[in-house]
């Protein structure tokens, strides 16, 4: 219990004094997870729209697999990405292992199924409403997808934020592919694991509180920037 309080106090001072190392690893956490989130959203959302409007043979199978992959264990993703990117692996020539790029790749793989599954749920409901109208207007498939994505943008924001939550708090995969190198690939979650290993629970907890604060701040910022929960809208 004393660890909790001293952790809170330490978190407070780290933030107030803008501790250089804290700022560095927090910025890297954001850089990795937000980049992964943007790229994953660009993949997952068109995929979700396509699954909503297009009828093809393996559609149900693809959706079921996508839903199942929401629970993909990060440590397994990390290991697979590691083996692929290792110098003795198929993509070794790229020299990406133990760089932020490798961490971004791993996080993209982890969050794409999550974002696609949640986005697909809401797009499917919307598609039921729009189906007859869009069919009667005889628009192209691409226009159907665009309409759905635009009109469901609030729900898609939720999907993205869920993806962000999974990415920013993730440690298993980025620990393996990033290597937790000081000043190169250390982020908040891997630093927490490291400090726990050293038995410095107070500092680990302090970093944990900073991480939670950061996640809340990012969510608030995105809501504010995209003007949800305002009058005249929902």
């Amino acid at each position: 219990m004393t660890d909790l309080w001293s952790g809170l106090a330490q978190a407070f001072w780290l933030v107030v004094t803008l501790d250089a190392e804290l700022v560095e690893i927090s910025a890297r956490s954001l850089q990795v997870s937000l980049t992964a989130l943007v790229i994953a959203s660009l993949i997952a959302m068109p995929l979700a729209a396509l699954l909503a409007v297009r009828r093809f043979r393996w559609r149900r199978g693809v959706i079921a697999i996508l839903n199942a992959l929401m629970g993909l264990p990060p440590v397994v993703v990390g290991l697979v990405v590691y083996v692929m990117l290792s110098r003795s692996g198929p993509l070794g020539v790229l020299g990406l292992l133990f760089t932020p790029a490798a961490m971004i790749i791993a996080q993209i793989i982890i969050v794409v199924p999550l974002i696609a599954s949640i986005a697909h749920q809401s797009l499917r409901d919307l598609w039921q409403e729009y189906h007859d109208l869009l069919i009667s207007m005889n628009v192209s498939q691409w226009q159907k997808m665009k309409t759905l994505l635009w009109d469901a943008r609030r729900a898609l924001l939720t999907a993205s934020l869920a993806g962000f939550g999974r990415a920013i708090g993730e440690v298993g995969a980025i620990m393996i592919v990033g290597g937790n190198i000081d000043h190169a690939t250390r982020v908040l979650t891997t630093a927490i694991a490291l400090e726990t290993g050293k038995g410095d629970f107070a500092l680990a907890l302090a970093l944990g509180f900073v991480l939670i604060g950061l996640a809340i701040a990012v969510n608030l910022a995105i809501h504010w920037l995209s003007r949800t929960e305002r009058e005249g809208r929902w």
Binding site: L34, S86, F98, P100, G179, G197, K198, G199
Partner: protein
Amino acid sequence: MIKRLLAGVLVAGLATAAHAGDVMKMAVTTSFHNSGLAEVLLPEIKADLDLEVQLLVVGTGQALKLGRAGDVDAILVHSKAAEEAFVAEGFGTHRREIMYNDFVFIGPKDDPADLGAATTASDALQKIAGAKAVFVSRGDDSGTHKKELSLWRAAGIAEDGFGDWYKSVGAGMGAALNTASGIHGYILSDRASWLNFGNKGDLALLFAGDPVLFNQYAYLPVNPEKHGHVKAGLAEKLEGWLVSDRAKALINGYMIDGETLFVFNAE
């Protein structure tokens, strides 16, 4: 609005920090890193050689694996037999001894197995096994784990003689010490990790000093003939620094709570 947000994030994501000077990767053991010596040596290396050494902190088993795959340029570990095999298989150019520290037995202060009265490391382990006192093992194929297993063998206790009291946790030194602290168990730790450990709780240092507990660290550059991309030149430069008088003074002078941790013995 959303588009501008996305663009901003993408730019931030793609703009990776440019590094000045040379950069190389070295895999080191958790026990070396937990000692805190790295924080003393790395800034000096940076200042003297303009060389940024990026540390991958892993167990000895994984460090050797990283070297085999060519994912690091050099390794600094402490498990002689495994290191010699690494060089013999051609993955490392050679093995250079740098320094040593020692292992210590840690356990609950009330000492149910009476380790305080032990005369040798073998005697200490026999006391633990005899009392069936809880013992926490790293169990992660690290240098410390391999050392522990060799000590058990030397004490005449076979691995199948381990009962419920033997807990293999499969974790790094710090995490294993946390476990030992939580369940009041005995554990073999390197002295540096123990002194730097922040969650000592009821644990105390109970036995140390047997020469078999000495722990030799060696530096092994990865063989550029196996992996053409490794920075052999930088690895050589680093080796030159590690065996220099400058490194000797820093290593021998490194202390925690007034205790020296490492003894420089490079030739």
